[in-house]
Symmetry: C2
Subunit: 181 residues, 2 copies
């Protein structure tokens, strides 16, 4: 932050506010304190019969790689609404959101990822603006070497493992503990 | 936002960026786009023997009311680390974080609350800067009429219900579905 978003002053200083214990960008003119916090990335694994719906990314990072529908949670929506909206935007697909099954701290990206199981309401989908293509995959055909992010690979692996065991668990992990490949 | 935090321009407009679908504050001078997303509030229910540790708030909102240790997640930490840090700050108490048991969308506050079960490592606690007092409560003595927030009441109720049934469940809810009192 170079300028105060409240008063426009350039008198910005990085220091610990009174009663706080970590440095924040503070405006010395109007006393505005700028807080930055981790963002929520929310998505789901949409299922149609035994297959899962994946999107091939049309945008960086990881353009050309496969992911589940997921994206930044917005103001004014719940986690479930965010997961359904992202699926509609990226895969032009309607889903019923089921249970939360994975929560991953991605500290270096300043994010927390939350993933739900979901049910595709019809066999209708298409590439949204942020996708090159969207397709249904059997477990055996998932392109594991072309998955966009470690957190997506982790959640897909847990999704299939739970399904094969007939269990519905919640997996909470730190992405630093998830293998990169 | 009145001024661009990047270039200091006052030419801020609220409009939908290209390729986006909702209005954002955009700087017409340097093209900076200001994204605002829900924040994570993370806490825990620290347990010592059969009692739970609660804090009486020394700050607004809800000054004088009781809460579990909880607060805004910071950059550079995991959810579990945030819950432990808040407990240390507000209750001067060390905990071992156990499992996540409640996730609550608090849409009108632009927050998502995440609550863990936790184990107090010793019968040592004290009021931190943001607390008037800190105390252990038996379930029967919890001051239900003086709990600070509906999401805290919800998570405490679920915590005790699960414990009495010997279960460890995850409760995901929208605060709009939780009674205010």
């Amino acid at each position: 932050m170079n300028f105060c978003p409240q008063c426009g002053s350039a008198e910005i200083e990085l220091r610990v506010p009174e009663g706080d214990n970590r440095p924040r960008h503070i405006c010395n003119s109007c006393k505005y304190i700028h807080y930055v916090n981790p963002k929520l990335v929310v998505g789901c694994v949409p299922v149609w019969k035994q297959q899962v719906l994946l999107c091939r990314r049309a945008i960086e990072p990881r353009l050309g790689y496969w992911t589940t529908p997921a994206g930044f949670m917005e103001i004014g929506e719940t986690l479930e609404q965010a997961a359904a909206r992202e699926t509609l935007e990226e895969a032009c697909a309607e889903v019923e959101i089921e249970d939360m099954f994975a929560v991953m701290d991605v500290v270096r990206a300043e994010q927390v990822h939350v993933m739900f199981r979901a049910r595709l309401l019809a066999e209708r989908f298409a590439a949204g603006d942020e996708s090159l293509e969207v397709a249904l995959f059997d477990e055996a055909d998932v392109p594991w070497d072309e998955i966009a992010f470690p957190s997506i690979r982790f959640s897909l692996q847990r999704f299939f493992a739970d399904r094969s065991e007939g269990k519905r668990r919640l997996h909470v992990t730190d992405s630093a503990r998830v293998p990169r490949q």
